[in-house]
Amino acid sequence: MLMLFLGIQLQAQQCNYSISGVVRDFHDGDALVNSTLSVNGYDIYTLSDFDGKYKLEGLCVGTYIITITHPECEVAEFTIEVNKNITRDFKLEHHTEELNAVTVKGENANKGSVSSVSTTLYSEILEQYSNANLGDALREIPGVSSLNTGSTVVKPVIQGLHSSRVLIINNGTRMEDQEWGVEHAPNLDLNSASNITVIKGASALKYGGDAVGGVIVTDPPKAPIKDTLYGKTILSGASNGRGLGLTSNLMKAYKNGFYIQGQGTTKYAGDLKSPDYVLSNTGLRENDFSIGFGLNKFTYGFDAYYSFYDSEIGILRASHIGNVSDLVRAINSGEPNYIEDFTYDINAPKQDVQHHLAKLSFFKRFENAGKLSVDYSFQQNNRKEFDIRRGDDRDKPSLDLKLITHSLGTNFLYDAESNFKANLGVQASYQENYPNPSTGIRRLIPDYEMYTLGAYATADYDVTDALRVDAGFRYDFRKIDAQKYYLNSSWEERGYEDEYGDLVVQRLETQLLVNPVFDYHNFSGTVGARYTFKPNWNVKMNLSTASRAPNPAELFSDGLHHSAAIIELGDLRLNQEQSYKASIELNGQAGGFTFGLNPFYNRINDFIIMEPNGLQYTTRGAFPVYEYGQVDARLYGIDVQVVYAFSENFNIQSAFAYVNGQDLDRDRPLIEMPAPNVTTTFGFIKPEWNNLTLSLRNQSVMKQSRYPNNDFEVTYINDSNQEVTETVEVSKPPSAYSLFHFSSSLDFEVFKQSTLTVGLFVDNMLNTAYRDYLNRQRYFADDLGRNFRIQIKLNY
């Protein structure tokens, strides 16, 4: 009644003022067409025209609240005092969902570059692997394989390259988790990511210039800008290993942009089983959690994040051998020499790893310019490896490393023009490695401090609507300052005295302390284009060069690597490797047929490899010596993916990957290249039947016919007391294999607004015995047998 009265009062005044102006996109300043502007409490409204112009008329003197809505934008309210005709421009921010969608597509500024060959896995796929490893999930992507130690230590391999050549960017931070070691899996929980993108090649310069193989980027869930609370819980059980896994996450978000989220995972499993025997001591414990909070306004915001990863991984008991004759016995016998009944216990040999990541980031957007962000992160990686030891040392780890990394990065994204975007950034880091001397075993990786400083500039430009080009350049400086003890005998044997004698700090009776300080200057760059020749058909071409300095293992390893029973020798003389990669990606769609083709050629100068080089004798017997060296190499290959949808319900999907690696110096194949493989999936989906999905997948891996012959001869006394000379067949890849996997799931609506998804999976349905060329335990035991898995997911 009062309102009505006031309204009449106002009507009675002189009411012929107006507000006019333009509604623009805050992001790029573009005019926003069809925004609705309304005056709160009055029946006055208008739409912005094609140029974003609007005019609200019939206003009296007074204070008004104007609400502006636009389909793609957040609702905004502005308070305006009117005492004359007013001209006022408004800027609107995009919906957060919209920003997410842009990010998720991963096509422009956020991941790689316009011409990067990249693939993203979303949560639907990742959830199926909630009880597995990052490396397992990434094998979904054609051209990505894995280098395993058993089935619990899984390292991703991108187009034939792995370890230090693959950067893992976890929530914007480059993981520093001792990734150099082949039996060091990435220390992150897959369940903390909402999507994971793999960029094949070095084009994502923003993340680092040394991604000779590629970059893996994980993104945490994005908070919506509205008042909401949601989460999900996944419970998984597996017959093989009798394991259980539980993961849960929860997000609380507010309309004002504030959010807080948490996530936790626990996994518990015992000994795994191959088709014919128990793989003794392959249990697993893992406990991870992450928490984050932050504020996301359109013009500014911050995020704080902490994650903790803790795992204890049993290493197949039978793979722990004493010397080279034990290895010969293991290879010849064809089955593990140690098989016990199933147990959940984990004994030595085992790995015990913790990783902490704490991160703070801030951003601010500047009108008609772009977004400035600053990140600081702290990481601490503790790795303990336990071997079978004697006496007082029994419970001591034989490797105990603590790696601490601080990094600070800043990036400026220029996006004021819709057809030109650029990133400029600087990154610096300090790293410190501390090998605990209480192991009583000489340090495989020495004490060192490392400083890095990198700067990059990348840009992409839309030449036409169909053609986008991009280019980038990066420079990295790296200084490593190590303190390393060498045995006098190895110092001499390596011939270091002449070259590095001046680095010796202290000479003891049997050892000497050396202080190598090495600087590396690395240059990397990328240039490429993407051309969309009709809707859903595009081609990308990219040329990139990456430069990687030798890692501490490659430089400094020296001595017996107990878990592998090999003597590993690094080389102080190594210099950086430089890759030049060309890749093309063609994507197309016609009717129900979709395909992607990705051929590539990668030339790598001074490629660092580790190869057997003779035997070394000790009282424990003979050990193969593996030495790091450099060769010029080239890799080429192709990844192919085709999908054909027969109908809305049926489809078939097939992916093929081939890599051919060659050592150009010696004209022979490179070691450990993934064998050609084909994965074919028949899928059925029926949304009307509780979203029923069924799929049958065939995974066929051919025998790797291209491998270097690194076999060596060893003379030893065999079990029949005869002195024999035998060839140790370490090179020969295992036979081809073909596995069938089944998966199914059903959704149920439960409670209010909650969905329960029940999944049933059977891996290796036919219980096929097989060994994989890229599994370091292939000498000792078969891979996993049949595994029934059940997964219950509740979204709420």
Binding site: T619, R620, E723
Partner: protein
Amino acid sequence: MKNLKILSLLFILTIAFSSCSNDDDSTPEPINEEEVITTVTVTLTPETGATVILTSQDLDGDGPNAPIIDVEGALQAGMSYSGSIVLENETETPAELINEEIEEEADEHQFFYQIGGGLDATVTYDDNEDDYLDNDNTNPVGLEFSLVAGTASSGQFTVTLRHEPNKDAEGVSDGDITNAGGESDITQTFDLEIE
């Protein structure tokens, strides 16, 4: 003001994290490996006559130098020898006697003595776990053994110490290494002669 607070938080966290690291710029200490077996000495004492001593010494442990193997004396045909083996770590001063650890963990260790290449000799164990552990277990350990030299001949005498062997597997308690499993802690071969 808000930015200032955030910056100060960042600063505090940086300090907190930096001060967590416990090592300083001091020189790392050298590690002398305690477990390394540098020296294996087998003493064969005959009922009468000269003692035969076999040694294998590798002072740089896992380093590039091979062990130096020495055989002092020759076996007499038809003679019985009582044998004993001593394992030492000579990287420490005084040398550490590894035998003590083997005795404490006698149930997890077993020596194997293999005769090959035409050497006419037989070896039998002279000890068992119970001698060291009082565990009523008669599985052999092999720190003490007997060797009977047959006719004049020459060949190899191989000493292997297995850690965590399957002592109950067939033949293992008789000294047959075939089914022993476990991993080799030492393996050394000596060329012997029976005169």
